[in-house]
Amino acid sequence: MSTVEITGLVKQWGDTRAVDGVSFVAAAGSLTALLGPSGCGKSTILRMVSGLEPPTEGHVRIGGRDVTRTEPAGRGVSMVFQSYALFPHLSVEENIVFGLKVRRISATDRARRLAKVADMVGLSDLLDRKPSALSGGQRQRVALARAVIAENDVCLMDEPLSNLDAKLRTEMRTSIRDLQRRLDMTMIYVTHDQTEAMTMADQIVLLNDGKVEQAGTPEQLYDAPSSVFTAAFIGMPPMNLLTLERFSDGVRVRGDREGPALAFSADSGWRLGVRPEHVALAPGSPVIGTVAAKDYLGADTLVTLEVGQERLTARIAGRPAAAIGERVGVQWPEDAEYLFDAHGRAVSRGSRTDGQTPVRTASA
């Protein structure tokens, strides 16, 4: 059981800092997702943890041991690559035991471990196939088996599911999580898909532009986003962020002259956040929105509404009657409101403030 500890990690190429002082701890036996848009440095962090890329600054500790300058093979980590990195000329079996052979593990030991791992990932019948004769999901399993057979405590995954179709992805999500729990591995999992991070991770490290934007459990990131970036990244669909405008008699959603003033004080340019599932269509509500679009998803419908100059999405159960172009009353509970200042930092959340003493919840 190994904790992975990363402190002040920096990677600089020329003038660009791809990774800019990232620190986090991946607890032993937990799954940490490195989440962020493409180009945020998450894969580079993973490569620095694996040792494939030397960091410009900072330290990597695995199981308490500083491995910042240790060769990849000496760190006790396995890795699954986005392209799977299977050796195309070797059979499934040879691919899986490649590392064991390199480390001169005896043939009987190899056979025993291979049988166990192949059974675990469901590849027992495909061992003599070449990777080119496998489907995407099967190749993924081979890569997984190769990572698992090394019996390392730490497993790194670089967008392992991004080449699979949606159905397979859901399946593999479950089986990877299962495997990680069963083998008690410390897993660091890079993804740009917030659904993957939310469903699988014990801890999410959300990255933006080479820095940690926010780290915490999926629930913490969802319930208490410390910034507009987190609020907009987590959630499907993401949180509605309505730009506010200050009028002489109070604050309203930008351009919404007719509606009632909101009962908190804020400056122009601040943003109000409301999750789509908290927005309801309410005939009597003084806030009026125009239905701009309806996306029917089966169990519920996403209704896009125009309020003033802002758009917001409401997740409504079933099939709402409101037609496109219709003006409807919109409301959301006060305790579902989030307020972000002009810099995008969270100011308050949960309960509507009286305008004087905003409840600070931002951990940043």
Binding site: E71, A73, V77, F98, V102
Partner: protein
């Protein structure tokens, strides 16, 4: 079938043949016909005004087997092939691996390695003639400064073939490097990452992963190198004319000599057929032996 579908079918055939025709004409006129004509030629005696050429069956082939110069040239060619092919291929892989990495001046290095290839063989031969010239040549001058005795590299039967082999390697290795470089660029660097994580040394990675993946290229290069070693002739005109005492005579140059110096076209045709058969056997052999061990993507 209905009549109009028959017509459509015929049109289809005509269309297909028309598409094939340009390539077929070129192939027949410049490859198939000359081959057959050479074969027929090789079965006739050398003619002159007094005695016209007549059919002698395998007479030319029998004469060839008794011809010491043929055996000399044949032997030379084997040594030439054995001396150039493995070395130039190993060098090519080594250079390709070197310039495939990120290193400063990589583009310049790639170009430098490739330069010998873009030079015409005649120019190359002239450069090397300057290297090999006794007394005033580059090699002898260098030897002299360190106090060693120079020698007539191209004039000595013991060194002339070696001198040609060195020059040919210099010329060919860069050419083959390009193929290896192209193949290396197609191999995902993640394979190297994966091997490094498993603790594979560079040599293990090369032996177990890179080299097997380069096998299609190796087959292609090997066949090309083999053909080249039997086809190379231009440098002999400049450097040695096959001498001294046929010590650097190669099959193709001997064919040229037979046809245009000795004006024995039918004997040249005989030698040509032998060379052709030899190359065909070698190429087929390489395919059959290597193909089974090659992984194609």
């Amino acid at each position: 079938m209905r009549p109009d579908s028959v017509r459509a079918n015929t049109l289809h055939h005509v269309y297909g043949w028309l598409l094939l025709m340009p390539a077929a004409i070129l192939l027949i006129a410049f490859t198939h016909y000359p081959t057959v004509a050479t074969l027929i030629n090789s079965l006739f005696s050398k003619g002159n005004i007094v005695r016209p050429s007549r059919f002698i069956g395998l007479g030319n082939y029998e004469a060839m087997l008794d011809d010491p110069i043929f055996w000399k040239a044949f032997g030379n060619n084997i040594w030439f092939a054995a001396g150039t092919i493995p070395t130039s291929m190993i060098l090519a892989i080594a250079m390709a691996l070197l310039v495939n990495r990120a290193l400063p001046g990589r583009g310049f290095l790639r170009m430098a390695y490739f330069t010998p290839t873009i030079l015409p063989m005649i120019a190359v031969a002239n450069i090397w003639l300057f290297f090999y010239t006794p007394e005033i040549g580059l090699i002898d001058q260098i030897l002299e400064t360190v106090g060693l005795q120079g020698k007539n590299w191209l004039g000595d039967p013991d060194t002339v073939l070696g001198a040609l082999i060195v020059m040919t390697i210099w010329k060919e290795a860069g050419f083959f490097m390009i193929f290896y470089l192209a193949a290396l660029q197609n191999i995902s660097p993640e394979l190297n990452d994966a091997a490094r994580l498993e603790g594979a040394s560079r040599w293990t990675y090369f032996r177990r992963v890179l080299f097997p993946l380069l096998m299609p290229t190796t087959l292609f290069v090997a066949i090309n190198a083999l053909l080249n070693s039997f086809k190379l002739v231009d440098h002999l005109f400049i450097l040695t004319k096959g001498g001294p005492d046929n010590a650097s005579n190669l099959l193709l140059y001997y064919i040229f000599e037979s046809a245009f110096s000795f004006l024995d076209a039918t004997y040249a045709a005989t030698l040509t057929m032998v060379l052709l058969a030899l190359l065909a056997i070698l190429a087929i052999g390489q395919f059959v032996i290597l193909d089974k061990r090659i992984h194609y993507r």
